[in-house]
């Protein structure tokens, strides 16, 4: 059996998306900036795609900018809000410790540009509060950036409440909704969201397409200079196949959001419940305020990469926040922010499901994983010490 359980990393392109993309590569290959018929047909498709995102985000079409992905959208949102703030002498930005690196590293860049950044601590359940945001806001705060849902542990943040706090304080609010878009309802009006980033390949669209929503009146600063595409705010000939695929995938995801969640939540909860029965394991993040397909736990005494390799051998694709998989010496900053000790964070496992995953696949994971954890623990000198009281169990 093969089980793809890494849908937070990327998803398979759906047939709907592919069908929308193909004509852009074949008969409708024109440049939307060209005045002749084939170009104008492309321009119409571009406008249609834009209106799909506007519709399901409860935005206006003029507020939608297509980018190369979530990272570019995050970069542009933060840079733009910073430039607006700087004009008024406001150079303080609030965010959280467990944002995606597309946000955290952009914030580091803002610091080099003279901004001051406050990163909020992460409560034990992985859900920051609007009150934390309210307390951190200062007279010189120009931006609050809080992710909609965390990419590793799947916790969903109180975006509407944070939006209300920001609106009341007159501070711009950006949310990185890369993991949430297409999976959770988003209403930029009701949630007081000023800037929002999303990425198509997280909801069965193609890679290389993102959207930046920016409320009307918010002047965007270009990340890419050049032609007049995207109202002059994002140069470069539009990625027409990607954009049309993204829009088709987004519409489909939004139309089926409730039934997808109804399918996924029982699978997620079964995996969380059963896997947390493995001794000395712990669920990362709130069990309820959580993306429908996200399962994330730590197993003490094992190392994540080994677990992934053995799962791969059994036909299961998953991910981990161990140092070896993060490509650095430290395990995931998300798990550390959550308060997991380094030793425990190295043994994390993330399974992210989508609507095509089945109950049989979840059962297969459950039939395989406990044996892998046992096997690695048997081999581990750390586990030996833990079991003989020479080292204290941390979970």
């Amino acid at each position: 059996m093969y089980v793809y359980a890494d849908n937070a990393a990327t998803t398979a392109v759906s047939k709907t998306a592919l069908d929308a993309m193909m004509p852009c590569l074949t008969e409708c290959y024109g440049n939307p900036s060209s005045l002749y018929a084939i170009g104008q047909r492309a321009a119409e498709k571009l406008a249609e795609a834009r209106s799909v995102f506007a519709q399901y985000l409860h935005a206006q079409t003029g507020e939608i900018t297509f980018t190369s992905g979530g990272s570019e959208a995050d970069n542009q949102a933060i840079l733009s809000a910073g430039m607006i703030g700087a004009k008024e002498g406001k150079k303080h930005i609030i965010s959280t410790k467990f944002e995606h690196h597309a946000v955290l590293h952009t914030l580091r860049r803002m610091e080099r540009l003279g901004f001051e950044v406050t990163l909020l601590d992460i409560p034990e359940n992985g859900v920051v509060t609007a009150e934390q945001v309210r307390r951190a806001i200062r007279p010189d705060t120009c931006l609050v950036s809080v992710m909609f849902a965390n990419n590793e542990i799947g916790t969903v943040q109180p975006i509407a409440e944070i939006g209300a706090v920001c609106a009341q304080a007159g501070v711009l609010f950006h949310t990185d909704a890369v993991q949430a878009a297409g999976h959770l309802p988003i209403d930029v009006q009701a949630m007081h969201i000023d800037l929002l980033s999303l990425s198509a390949h997280k909801f069965h669209g193609p890679k290389g397409v993102g959207v930046l929503y920016a409320r009307k009146g918010i002047a965007l600063t270009n990340v890419i200079e050049g032609g007049a595409q995207e109202r002059g705010k994002r140069a470069g000939t539009e990625n027409m196949p990607g954009i049309c695929g993204a829009a088709a995938a987004f519409r489909e995801a939004c139309l089926h959001m409730d039934e997808n969640a109804a399918h996924l939540i029982p699978l997620r909860d079964k995996l969380l419940t059963e896997l947390s029965k493995i001794p000395h394991s712990i669920i990362n993040g709130d069990r309820v305020k959580r993306l429908p397909g996200n399962v994330n736990l730590c197993f003490e005494g094992v190392e994540g990469e080994s677990m992934l390799l053995l799962l791969d051998e059994k036909g299961i694709s998953a991910s981990s926040g161990s140092a070896c998989t993060s490509g650095s010496l430290d395990p995931s900053h998300v798990l550390l922010a959550l308060g997991r000790p380094h030793e425990v964070a190295h043994g994390s496992l993330r399974l992210t499901l989508c609507e095509t995953n089945t109950a049989e696949e979840a059962d297969y994971i459950l039939s395989v994983l406990p044996g892998i954890v046992d096997y690695l623990r048997d081999m581990s000198p750390v586990w030996d010490e833990l079991e003989h009281g020479q080292r204290k169990h941390q979970i």
Binding site: V302, E303, S306, L309, C324, H346, P381, D384
Partner: protein, 153 residues
């Protein structure tokens, strides 16, 4: 291209000489759980011939940490103790048909685990040793932090 060579995957999936040794003559442990890998190596020494008659390991770590431990045990088993000390991380990497650059520190850990086990054996038996057993981490450019906690048990 796969992350690891076939040789690495073979040793990861079928580790040689894995397990505890209750009557070990020398035990070496290097690494740090905080950094994500610990290797513990056990050696049994034939006193007459001063050869390593048996070797076992326990490792907490990634695929390459397990593979380097496994192949290192194969490379020193049956060898004179003095020769085992000459096992270099480079030799471990070559025997595994290479490692990704950011995994090279695992091969250093394997070399150091062997040295730590031999040093423990020497210490327990009052055998003097020289510079070749110094726990020198500076030659590992892959990672400084990983090496700092090297210690003999």
């Amino acid at each position: 291209m796969a992350l690891y060579s076939e040789k690495v995957m073979d040793h990861f999936q079928h580790p040689r000489n894995v397990g505890k040794m209750d009557d070990a003559d020398g035990i070496g442990e290097v690494g740090n759980a905080r950094c994500g890998d610990i290797m513990r190596m056990y050696i049994k020494v034939d006193r007459d011939t001063q050869t390593i008659s048996d070797v076992k390991f326990n490792t907490f770590g990634c695929g390459s940490a397990i593979a380097t431990s496994s192949i290192a045990t194969e490379m020193i088993k049956g060898k004179p103790v003095r020769e085992a000390l000459k096992l270099s991380n480079r030799a471990v990497v070559e025997a595994l048909d290479g490692l990704p650059a950011y995994k090279l520190h695992c091969s250093v850990l394997a070399e150091e685990a062997v040295k730590a086990a031999v040093r423990d054996y020497y210490d327990k038996n009052g055998i003097a040793y020289g510079d070749e057993l110094k726990m020198d981490c500076e030659h590992c450019t892959a990672c400084d932090e990983h090496q700092s906690a090297a210690k003999a048990r």
